[in-house]
């Protein structure tokens, strides 16, 4: 058993060094407290704005009978869209077998969990009677796309949460013995959450199977959640929404916003968590290609979405397109299409731009444009209904978001950032055991037989030795 033993020792050393790098960030330092304090303060302002809305009604927003869905719904679509990246990276790319997604997968899941959990709240902020939320469960009608949305968003959130948690179980087991100096409750939590993981053969098998099932399960689920979201619009006859490609159009757009969010997160973790060793230029180069690819697919759907109605120019489509391409929304539209889609793709085709710094700049543009794009999808088609808008106050005709509305729309972002911060401050952001394994693979030329490595046993032995 000598080979196995030395392999095990070497693996343990690697685990030691990797976990040192990664667990370094699991702590409540001053930065964390200040940041959370800042977020809490902003959230308090947003919540105050929401209490005004609760008291006075949705009239405090710029919404009126003509444009009755605005920023909140755009925000909702954006959040659902961005959360889809968890599925893209862990499932699609992971199942295909790309090894480089390993250190990124958990980051993608953190984003998925944060954004999917908040999406539901946004809908509540848009409801005229949030107090009647239980009605959705009491009187829910399966025919309504809203019900489909509620169901799939919740399921997607839960599965994403499991996809974040389950692959982390070995890490928790590794980490629980290495958390000296951290608050006792955290160590206890790790103890509890690692659910007796010792790396036994059977455990590894169960873990891998569970992970695999979830990875497969989440693919149709993710497609469902965003297709259904697109149907909230596509099932209505309005020009600009009445489109049969809205499902794929939304999904391809979702990958664009999600990937750019992951890039920004990667850049941030790399810098402030000092993870340059694990989130390398190579990873950025790869994810840069992914962003270019998904953006190109999205451009393709954009061409379909605008060229086909633009060719036929049915009366209402014409009004809608004119307003988008040359009218009131033209600056926004072209800004989004050029700065947030076309130019990023062109830049990303060059190797020099697939480096961390240029990419985080590009990704920021893409992400901001993704939000605005949702706004363009949601708002303008309502301005020109089938029948003319007459005999109403002027404020009703053009939708302009109010300050209160903007403040309430910021809340979800703050909440998502809080969740991301907590998840990545309390738990390892990168997969320790997988990184250690990878290193072993790279150095030893073969995979570590994890089944022979009993972390707890090793730890207990160590402890005994120390006590003596």
């Amino acid at each position: 058993m000598t080979t196995s033993h030395s392999g095990s020792t070497r693996y343990r050393e690697r685990v030691d060094s990797v976990s040192k790098d990664i667990l370094r960030n699991v702590r409540f330092n001053q930065g964390f407290i200040l940041w959370m304090g800042f977020l809490t303060a902003v959230l308090a302002v947003c919540l105050f704005a929401y209490t005004i809305q609760l008291r006075k009604g949705l009239g405090v927003t710029g919404l009126r009978d003509i444009t009755s869905w605005g920023m909140y719904i755009a925000n909702f679509v954006f959040f659902v869209a961005t959360s889809l990246v968890g599925m893209l990276i862990s499932s699609v790319l992971g199942l295909i077998g790309f090894k480089w997604v390993k250190p990124i997968a958990r980051i993608a899941e953190i984003i998925a969990v944060a954004f999917a959990s908040i999406a539901g709240l946004i809908i509540i902020s848009d409801m005229g009677r949030p107090d009647r939320l239980p009605n959705v469960f009491i009187y829910g009608r399966v025919q309504s796309p809203i019900l489909w949305d509620v169901t799939v968003v919740t399921t997607y959130f839960l599965v994403s949460l499991m996809l974040w948690f389950i692959p982390m179980i070995p890490d928790l087991a590794i980490a629980k013995t290495r958390l000296n100096g951290r608050p006792a409750f955290l160590v206890k939590a790790y103890e509890l959450l690692s659910i007796n993981w010792v790396g036994h053969k059977k455990q590894v098998k169960t873990l891998n199977e569970a992970g695999r099932i979830l990875l497969i399960l989440i693919v149709p689920l993710a497609f469902a959640i965003h297709t259904v979201t697109s149907w909230l619009f596509a099932v209505t006859p309005r020009a600009g929404w009445d489109s049969s490609i809205f499902g794929p159009y939304f999904i391809s757009g979702a990958f664009v916003s999600g990937t750019s969010a992951v890039i920004i997160a990667m850049f941030f973790y790399r810098k402030s968590y000092k993870l340059e060793k694990y989130l390398t230029d190579f990873h950025f180069e790869k994810i840069g290609r992914v962003l270019a690819l998904v953006s190109i697919v999205y451009i393709y759907f954009n061409i379909n979405e605008f060229l086909v109605p633009g060719y036929k120019l049915k009366t209402l489509d014409e009004i809608h397109l004119k307003e988008l391409l040359a009218g009131e929304y033209a600056p926004l539209f072209w800004g989004v299409q050029l700065l947030g889609l076309l130019i990023p793709v062109i830049l990303l085709l060059f190797k020099q731009f697939r480096k961390p710094l240029p990419m985080v700049v590009i990704a920021s543009f893409v992400l901001a444009a993704s939000w605005l794009k949702r706004y363009i999808i949601v708002v303008p088609p309502q301005a020109h209904p089938f029948l003319p808008v007459q005999n109403v106050p002027v404020e009703w005709i053009v939708y302009t978001p109010t300050l209160i509305e903007i403040a309430i729309s910021v809340a979800p972002l703050v909440l998502a950032l809080m969740i991301i911060t907590i998840l990545s401050k309390l738990f390892p952001v990168l997969p320790i055991h997988e990184l250690a394994e990878e290193e072993t693979l790279a150095v030893d030329g073969h995979e570590t037989d994890l089944a022979h490595i009993d972390e707890t046993a090793v730890y207990n032995e160590e402890k005994k030795a120390n006590n003596n």
């Binding site: 006075k56 009755s68 005229g128 209505t236 209904p385 029948l387 005999n391």
Partner: protein
Amino acid sequence: MSEKKKKENPEDSKIDEILESSRRDFLKMVGIVGAASVAGGAAIYSGYRHEKAKSSGETIKVLTEDNRLVEIPKDQVKDYKPDLKVLQTRGRLGIKGKKWVMVIDLSKCRNARKCVAACQGAHHLRPYEYHINTLVMQESKNTPAYYMPKTCQHCDNPPCVSVCPVDATFKRQDGIVLIDNERCIGCRFCMAACPYSARMFHWQEPLDAEADKGKEYDVELNVPQKKGTISKCLFSADRVREETLPYCVSACPNGVFYFGDENENAVTNGTTKETVMLSELLEKNAGYRILDELGTKPRVYYLPPKNRIFDFKQGPATEYKETT
């Protein structure tokens, strides 16, 4: 309905019929609710005025839900006032055997907006909150404009009903689409789905919120209106239950509106009170439905705006200001 009788008293005969069926419906409803509370399952007919019984031995004959004539002591007769449960149940059921339709003759509309005012008065709305709105329509540059009163179209394939997540907006057996403001969650999906922009939302506290406090909510009138929920044209479901024409229909001074039962193939003009054959009216005048091509199957028909005024002049535009 004989031709002669119709001429003599066209409305009465029609109303008689409505009355008959509505009375039966009503009794059924009273039966449902009353069975529990009144001993013997006999329900009380509301048409009777409450009279103080002079002697305790006096009885009164009452028709029950199942058409039995029974006698009960007179001093036990109480005036019947439907409570929320009754209002909600009968409001959802609608009136059996009826299929309400409206015909709007565009050639007669002079934009008096009396329909709008009557409707807003009945439903406690602000001047810019509409169940019915008259619009200036113009198909092309070369055709003169005309006025078009626009109500909810009470579609037989209503997109709003399909998308509502909680069944707050629903289609009744008599063709009317209503909204239950006790249930609506205010998601406004129905507004997004409605191609006729027929729906309005209470963005703020409704006009008469203060005055209507404590009133029993009547789904057929949508009063009291409720903040954060939807409202829209109800085909005056409360009026048709009482065998009267809708508020807008009877308010029009120009004879624009006809209202009636498709099953009877008869509609009554709100101004002249003349009852005519629906099919004939539509056929002779080339009646049509708006945005029919969307497959919504509206229950509101329009008669084309013939004899248009060629130099169409619109009165001075009213400015609408948001009020609290």
